[in-house]
């Protein structure tokens, strides 16, 4: 572990402060302090060789921490619940989470995948459509505040449109939900320079439906969310 440099005392007389800083100065960042072993190890220390740090010496979670939540129990959201008002969109609880990131992360990668089965009917003037939107909140170094980055969020939203139907009738004979219109959605994104703190990942649902179709629903049979923080 070639990191502690030699101690050079410049004062002509022996000074207690010099000795103190040479041995224990946790906040000084001085490489001569033996305290450098507590928080001061850097790239030099794991460049390889017999005196450097090997991966097995390092505890899991030191450089990377991840979270995954997968589910295979159906979640239903009904048209009766839906609003397009920003504050009233329905949170998809299985595709939402809040993760604590215990250290300043160089990058945080995140994403979700889900199999959506949505009722969407055909209407010449207003075809029905469901929308999903991911909201992320984190703390970035540059702003030092909670961030809701519009660009990152916009890249993670989408539509679940009315799709293929019977070739002779607007409604398929079996009713709603022609399976050809269902979507398997997989999206991911990345933030850089994220500070220690909570990372919130929230997917919400809205829809444009005929007023008579409040009993239309979107089902999610399976899906998952993941967050990976790297130093």
């Amino acid at each position: 572990m070639a990191i502690i440099t030699n101690l050079s005392l410049t004062n002509p007389k022996l000074d207690l402060e010099d000795i103190y800083k040479g041995v224990y100065a946790p906040s000084s960042g001085l490489a001569t302090s033996l305290e450098v072993l507590n928080g001061g190890l850097e790239q030099t220390n794991y460049n390889g060789g017999n005196v450097s740090i090997e991966p097995w010496m390092v505890q899991n979670g030191t450089f990377a921490q991840g979270f995954y939540h997968g589910f295979d129990r159906w979640e239903h959201t009904y048209g009766y619940q839906i609003s397009t008002d920003d504050d009233s969109r329905i949170v998809h609880s299985a595709l939402s989470t809040k993760v604590f990131i215990p250290w300043e992360a160089n990058v945080v990668m995140y994403g979700f995948q889900a199999w959506f089965e949505h009722d969407a009917d055909y209407d010449e003037t207003r075809p029905e459509i469901w929308t999903y939107r991911l909201k992320i909140k984190s703390t970035q170094t540059a702003q030092d505040t909670v961030l809701e980055n519009a660009d990152h969020q916009t890249a993670l939203q989408g539509k679940l449109p009315w799709g293929r139907s019977d070739k002779t009738a607007a409604h398929p004979t079996a009713g709603f939900m022609p399976e050809e219109q269902w979507r398997y959605v997989h999206k991911q994104g990345m933030l850089t320079s994220v500070k220690k703190g909570f990372f919130t990942f929230e997917l919400d649902i809205s829809a444009t439906l005929d007023e008579d179709n409040g009993d239309s629903k979107i089902k999610t049979p399976t899906g998952g969310v993941w967050v990976l923080a790297l130093r």
């Binding site: 850097e42 075809p127 459509i129």
Partner: protein, 236 residues
Amino acid sequence: MAIVRPDSSTTIDKTDITDMHENVRTEINAVPASNIGRGCFNHHHFQASSNGVVLFSHVENELDDAAISSNATSELGGFLLNKENVISASLAQSLTSFDGKVYVLVQFNCQIGQYQTAAGDNKNPEEEVMAIFGISYVYKNSLGITSSETLKAESVRCVHFPHNKLYDSTSSAKTQDITVSLSCVLKFESDEQELTTVNAIASLLRGAAPTSPGWAADDKYTILNGTLTILGLRGD
């Protein structure tokens, strides 16, 4: 570890202090790997994110609608010759300052919007038509020579447009809205010099024998909400 300390009843001077420090320093600096315990270091022992496993990172979002009208007339062979850049990340990222190999994780996702005529009218896509996506890159080798643009073959994805029997030209019912997601890992040897650019590319792929009503040569499709993320990681 044996640390030499001043004798009792002698005067401690500067040299004694620096000598003791030198003793400790030398011992600690020379601790061999075999004397280090398993899992004895955690995040408290290392400096902040600047000394982690991430060497470089880059995020590029392209949220506006774009149209892809290039036609790849054959599969991979014609893709690079007939592609359009969905997102182009000009990195000029030097690799020479990193020790060892560098692995670069590239991920791209976007959404296919609509299939259209050249005039921008919505059109019901035929079954012989597919959207094709991939990731390409340009780098400088160990001699500093810039490579030609290379397609990372395992990143390539083809997507069929759903055929809609009730399609009409006035409503927005023809919206496709298919999520496209692809990724790959680029590996660079320790003597390779620079990752110059990374591109998310797209084209249109057609069957050889169009059927009635058939596709038109200048058909296109729209894409939106694209994200390209690039992550450089320390290799072994």
